[in-house]
Symmetry: C2
Subunit: 344 residues, 2 copies
Amino acid sequence: MPPVPLTDRVLMGPGPCNPYPEVAAAFARPLLGHLDPEFIALLDDTNERLRQVFRTTNPLTFPVSGTGSAGMEAAFVNVVEPGDAVVVGVNGVFGERMCDVAGRCGAEVVRVEAPWGQPLDPQSLLDAHPSPRLIAAVHAETSTGVRNDVACLGQHLRHQDAEALVLVDCVTSLGGIPVEVDGWGVDLAYAGTQKCLGVPPGLAPFTAGERAVARLVDRPRSWYLDLGMLARYVTGEGARVYHHTAPVSMVYALHAGLGALLDEGLEASWARHRECGEALQAGLVELGFELFAAEGHRLPELTTVWVPADRLPAGMTEADVRRTLLERDGIEIGGGLGEFAGKV
Amino acid sequence: MPPVPLTDRVLMGPGPCNPYPEVAAAFARPLLGHLDPEFIALLDDTNERLRQVFRTTNPLTFPVSGTGSAGMEAAFVNVVEPGDAVVVGVNGVFGERMCDVAGRCGAEVVRVEAPWGQPLDPQSLLDAHPSPRLIAAVHAETSTGVRNDVACLGQHLRHQDAEALVLVDCVTSLGGIPVEVDGWGVDLAYAGTQKCLGVPPGLAPFTAGERAVARLVDRPRSWYLDLGMLARYVTGEGARVYHHTAPVSMVYALHAGLGALLDEGLEASWARHRECGEALQAGLVELGFELFAAEGHRLPELTTVWVPADRLPAGMTEADVRRTLLERDGIEIGGGLGEFAGKV
């Protein structure tokens, strides 16, 4: 069976992106067992790099063995019990997904909506319920290109001595724009590897602070994502207790990608994303495109434009344009989702 | 940050094993988007290879985006509802794990036990409950080296027109000893990539038959492992509906490993494992070791021996011997689990 030929693409879609060259080298390393002292040391170092990128000192910081959505599920399933009120900000696909995941945990989901393309109002999230278990929001909405203001949530709650935990989806923000888990008082955060970390998809960087760890549910609905069990393998002193077999090669890849990012410097990466994003967005406007995301809340690392329907070649749809770009030029961009499919 | 040096090991433990050379080449392929037609074609081809290896025509056959334990959770969470009776065979760590996972789904778990090192009695599994939702067993118990007789379960149930589904854990059997999903009437099966498939850990090959698909629960507890949603991306005709971002590089690796396995031929792989396992076991007995697993039910691909306590060098434990093997000779073997830690 000959290997299937695969074309090298320029990945300009909403993820995966082209990985750092260091990642391919890491994949080529010989495999180690998941309890090998050399692998444990590499995992520890990966977790320390993740702490630097999340800007946290949380001991429970590690890559969940699944994609970003597994990180989302791990965040909810470990702190939400049936009947808990959970406030969720919804202004795109991933806020909707949070409602679905929280609902499956038996939560009373309190939705706080904003139109797609507009940011969430943080005060509305804080005011939505008198005593929620959790307030959850997506930092960078991949489906709209909007940055939500999540920095103030934790600080407000701490000033009020409120019990609620703050959960932030950093899938498309981590590494690309400032994320300050400790500085913002975020209790639970997760990301994906395939966005601004420059690593193929497959792991969900995850961090949980002291307040979240103190409130872990006794026996979460998911065995695979049980943080109490996972902590005995991924962190801690002395012997590691086997839970599941770690995805060794993907950890190599993440370790290498984080190394490349930290070699550049986190602030330098933010500045590079800002500079490139602003240049792209200014250029698109100059070409006559209309940007979709609200001004002042545009992500530099993910740009959304309205499809200029009147300028499409006769008989061509937006999907045809994307297919032509991919097949003729090897460039991938992404299509709009939900009611904006074919329009953004 | 220099890359952490890693030593090349001879991996003789219970997994991961050293991957096929073709896998390293696959990891080096350029990344594709998860909706790229070239990637979808490669995923389709991977699924077709999995069907050949599972010996099934099940359309819903694909790699779950997590390790083998995620496959286990996917199998239970999609067909078990609170109050369902679930019969589980328990003669090792992974039967115990099944009880935990089923219990978290709210199942009434009916345990059918055998001592560690002994096989399960299939008739006891069939007789354990008058109308279970599911009968579940581990084919190859990684913690003991025992092969359980799972071939007859489905056939018995079908002859009796019983409603129960049959779920088989094939993590350490798939590719190494005969697995006949269709021939045995297995409704749900999963495996891991890091055992007899020769691929690093990170994915769980999975298959669900028509009877299982007809009884999927409406809204499983896990969003990430929701088979109904996953099916709209991983299988089917026409447009694929995005669920989560597929772990593209790991799919490359699995595709390559399955290619190497099928190039050799499945029967040839079974014969090779049998020949090597029998030679190893005969040699160990000749050296004075006592095999742990019951005769007639010994896995050729995973061999367990009692630690000859009287022959350990003075002051050395079983763990010291394994550490010396690893550090001095670069050879990894595994230690016993549970009450057999330090003894097997």
